[in-house]
């Protein structure tokens, strides 16, 4: 069977997320509890988590998580990484044996800063440089796959049910101020670990439920700007759309969300002048970035948590708040099992993005 990226694999899913906007730490066991309630929404062919704030001792360094299929791949990749980064730490990511997780790749992580000399010679800014390095490894070194490359954050994923993946990585040993989780229900898959979600580039991680019908329109739009959609997944293309809008076009996150889930013309035509002009301009310029078909997406970053839903509300996504915490999940029950008495519960509606910003000191957060 063809590996993901050689073939497009649609999938349904479960997603969940928690944020503490004041930056208080939440243990990994919470998010596992939430996502595991939605067991039936996955089929054991992919699960994963993203956690923000887990590496405070390395917060100024990139945390690079890599899957290796062979020792040779590791040798080649490390050669590349040691050349392009000043690596401080190189270690196996601690895991434990779990019955339902089959033997997978060798999983390593590296902490380090970008090699400034190489970066300057390449005439790239730091983020562009790091993003290029990740792309070069993933496209150029057979058997090596970087699945996490942000600062003070990390993705953890595998082929299996999400609760088993959480146990495998011993996520109860990690504390984070933002957690996102994903359980996958692909319609067919060769069971490749790299194909599990969240999908990550730099600081951005995406979990997504649904199958977008605008995929190729979005892919061909974003590939104009140097991106290469090698995974052929919705999650990948949505991540790149956000990355492009936020990093290259410097749009605020809520404006980027408006691009992906723009209101309908009927609604825009009824708006007052400024808003009408804003949305008309947005839809006119970013027509290729409009996302269509059923989806619910949670975008995690060190800036906060963004949840968007498709324009017709074809996919479920519930939000809730209590105190400094906000919760999202495909099903309300998955929120209530970890927060039985939320102050507010609502269904995220199409074209009305919800953004929960992280309100900790900016110096603590890498400014994007």
């Amino acid at each position: 069977m063809l590996k993901e990226g050689k073939v497009r694999i649609p999938s349904g899913c479960a997603i969940a997320a928690i944020i503490d906007r004041k930056g208080n730490m939440i243990n990994g066991s919470e998010i596992i509890k939430s996502i595991s309630l939605m067991h039936d929404r996955s089929n054991g062919l992919g699960g994963g988590f993203a956690a923000y704030g887990i590496y405070p001792e390395h917060k100024d360094e990139y945390a690079i998580h890599v899957f290796y299929d062979s020792a040779d791949a590791r040798k080649k990749c490390e050669e590349f990484l040691f050349k392009h980064f000043n690596i401080d730490v190189a270690e196996r990511i601690p895991t434990k044996q779990v019955a339902n997780i089959e033997k997978g790749p060798d999983i390593w992580r590296y902490f380090g800063k970008a090699n400034r000399v190489r970066m300057k010679n390449a005439r790239l800014d730091e983020e562009e440089y790091v993003a290029k390095c990740v792309t070069n490894v993933n496209n150029g070194i057979d058997g090596a796959y970087i699945f996490s490359s942000g600062k003070n954050m990390g993705c953890f994923k595998a082929v299996g049910y999400p609760e088993d993946v959480g146990e495998f990585y011993m996520l109860d040993n990690y504390n984070a101020y933002i957690w996102t989780a994903h359980g996958r229900f692909p319609t067919n898959t060769p069971g490749w670990w790299g194909g599990s979600h969240p999908f990550n580039i730099l600081d951005w991680s995406i979990v997504h439920n649904g199958e977008i019908s605008s995929y190729d329109a979005n892919r061909r739009y974003i590939e104009q700007f140097g991106y290469k959609c090698t995974m052929q997944t919705d999650t990948e293309v949505i991540t790149y759309l956000f990355d492009h809008l936020l990093r290259h076009h410097r749009l605020p996150i809520d404006v980027a969300a408006d691009v992906l889930t723009a209101p309908e013309w009927e609604e825009i035509d009824r708006m007052e002048k400024d808003k009408k002009e804003y949305y008309t301009t947005l839809r006119s310029i970013y027509s290729g970035a409009l996302v269509n078909g059923p989806f619910s997406v949670i975008l995690g970053s060190n800036k906060g948590l963004l949840a968007i839903n498709d324009r017709l509300k074809l996919r479920s996504l519930t939000a809730a708040t209590k105190g400094d915490k906000a919760y999202f999940a495909s099903e309300e029950s998955a929120i209530r099992i970890i927060c039985p008495d939320p102050e507010k519960v609502w269904s995220v509606s199409g074209a009305e993005p919800v953004f929960i910003p992280l309100e900790i000191e900016t110096s603590e957060v890498e400014d994007l």
Partner: protein, 500 residues
């Protein structure tokens, strides 16, 4: 007799039904029917019949029928009757062969070799009766990115944009090549449908000046009818470099068709031939095109987008990209099956390439260069139905131009003799006794019906794909699959084969 060409059709009159009312006699401008006063009977001479069906459709007792006239030659796959007859015609006259309408040769029609997708289970189809289906289309140059003050407040000053309520526009047909009534019908329909009609290179008749908001005005190599008022009374200006039916050559409206009205609109003397040269005599390279674009922008205070229409030829991708870089806000590509009022037969049948391949190649090239999203791409050159349009948009077009389809809606029967000026349906003629046959209001209604029907079908197909905004169909080639195509064809179209 050397020089004789057997007729093409036979008009068959059922004498049991015919009441000898003489209706057909007055209907046929080709003079196929006549009254024999002695016998008090209507007689038929089939030699002039072009199969326009006017007499058939108008006969109150359905007594008439048209049949192909078969006069066999000895079989020869190489020297077909068609080639022999064309040689005879040229031996008779010493002239270039002329034809009308689009390339009729059996070249591959890729629309018929592309299949569309629909949603099943993993993502739902959308019911267009319940959910909004957006086909609004915006043409014009776009900046790379938006500048905002905050969410809800844009600081970007947008270049002039054309907002259409359908991706279907009416392509250029000049007053002169078609009658004023036909152009009026298109203009009125464009207004009602929220789209535009195109004046062609014929100027704007005073009766249509109030339709400026729904007009694209053409500036072609003859510059007929072009003045400041004309340029400023439109939604966009279209520089016509080439036409799919006759790439590389100009146009010729014979003096007989230049009556006082046509002469006024074109700003040429009555009865004089209107000859559009092959090239624009001020455009000998891409930088000259840039100058013309900017001259037009200056003449209109930059309030009108400028489109450049080019014929689909071999190097189309690079040419389209050049036009975009020369400042064209909209690039129109006209495929070799595009229609025309008159074209040299050899050119019409042998020059240019299919719109499907040209569109796919140009869209991909503009994307490879990272400029596709900043300009609009319009496809033209024979769209026969709504699914052709859906396929064109999925290949990468923003909008499509149609001309033959609305002509057929108005009564055209594709008899391929527009160049004779004897159109019995009152469309491609300037003879007052013929043009008065076309009631502009009724024709308008029929064109509106057609476009509304196609709009419905486009929405239905989009809904089936799980798409509710045409933005998400545009360039979405994963919605297409080829059937019976070679690897090379699939590669150029940028699609994969059915079953993959």
């Amino acid at each position: 007799m050397i020089g004789y060409i057997p007729r093409k059709f036979t008009v068959i009159r059922d004498n049991d039904l015919c009441t000898n009312c003489g209706g057909c006699v007055s209907q046929c401008a080709n003079e196929c029917h006549s009254i024999n006063a002695e016998k008090n009977r209507v007689l038929t001479n089939s030699n002039n019949c072009v199969a326009c069906h006017r007499c058939v459709d108008m006969c109150p007792v359905s007594a008439l029928r048209i049949e192909k006239y078969i006069c066999d030659y000895r079989n020869n796959a190489n020297w077909t009757p068609e080639y022999q007859q064309e040689i005879v015609r040229q031996a008779n006259t010493g002239s270039t062969l002329l034809s009308a309408m689009g390339n009729p040769k059996p070249y591959p029609i890729y629309w018929d070799k592309i299949l569309l997708n629909a949603s099943q289970v993993t993502n739902p189809s959308i019911d267009p009766l319940r959910e909004p289906m957006e086909i609004r289309t915006i043409l014009g140059r776009k900046p790379d990115k938006i500048e905002i003050e905050k969410k809800g407040k844009s600081l970007t000053k947008m270049p002039p944009q054309i907002i259409l309520e359908t991706p279907i526009m009416f392509s250029a047909m000049s007053f002169g090549s078609i009658s004023l009534n036909a152009q009026k019908a298109l203009a009125m329909a464009a207004k009602e449908l929220g789209t535009i009609f195109n004046t062609g290179e014929g100027g704007l008749h005073p009766d249509l000046e109030s339709f400026g908001k729904y007009a694209a005005v053409q500036v072609a190599s003859g510059r007929f009818g072009v003045h400041k008022g004309y340029l400023n009374n439109c939604r966009f200006i279209e520089i016509k470099i080439g036409q799919g039916a006759k790439p590389g050559i100009g146009g010729h409206l014979p003096g007989e068709k230049v009556n006082v009205e046509v002469s006024n609109a074109r700003m040429i003397p009555e009865g004089s031939d209107a000859i559009s040269p092959a090239p624009h005599h001020d455009i000998y390279s891409i930088e000259d095109l840039r100058q013309l674009i900017w001259s037009l922008k200056q003449a209109t205070d930059a309030t009108k987008p400028v489109a450049v229409k080019i014929a689909a030829v071999h190097n189309i991708a690079a040419i389209a990209s050049g036009c975009a870089r020369a400042g064209a806000d909209i690039v129109v590509i006209d495929g070799f099956r595009g229609g025309t009022g008159a074209a040299p037969t050899r050119i019409r049948d042998n020059v240019g390439i299919p719109i499907e391949l040209a569109l796919a190649a140009a869209d991909q090239r503009l994307r490879d260069e990272g400029i596709r999203s900043t300009i609009s791409l319009v496809a033209s050159g024979s769209f026969r139905c709504s699914s052709d349009i859906v396929k064109a948009i999925a290949l990468g077009a923003d909008a499509c131009y149609v001309a033959s389809a609305p002509l057929i809606a108005m009564g055209c029967h594709m008899c391929h003799t527009c160049n004779t000026g004897k159109c019995n349906w009152g469309i491609a003629t300037q003879k007052p006794e013929l043009t008065k046959r076309l009631n502009p209001n009724m024709a308008q209604k029929r064109i509106e019906n057609l476009v509304n029907a196609w709009n419905h079908e486009i929405k239905e197909i989009m809904g089936g794909m799980g798409i509710n905004a045409i933005d998400s169909l545009r360039g979405n080639r994963l919605m297409l699959r080829g059937i019976g195509l070679t690897n090379k064809e699939l590669e150029i179209l940028g699609i994969i084969h059915a079953g993959e």
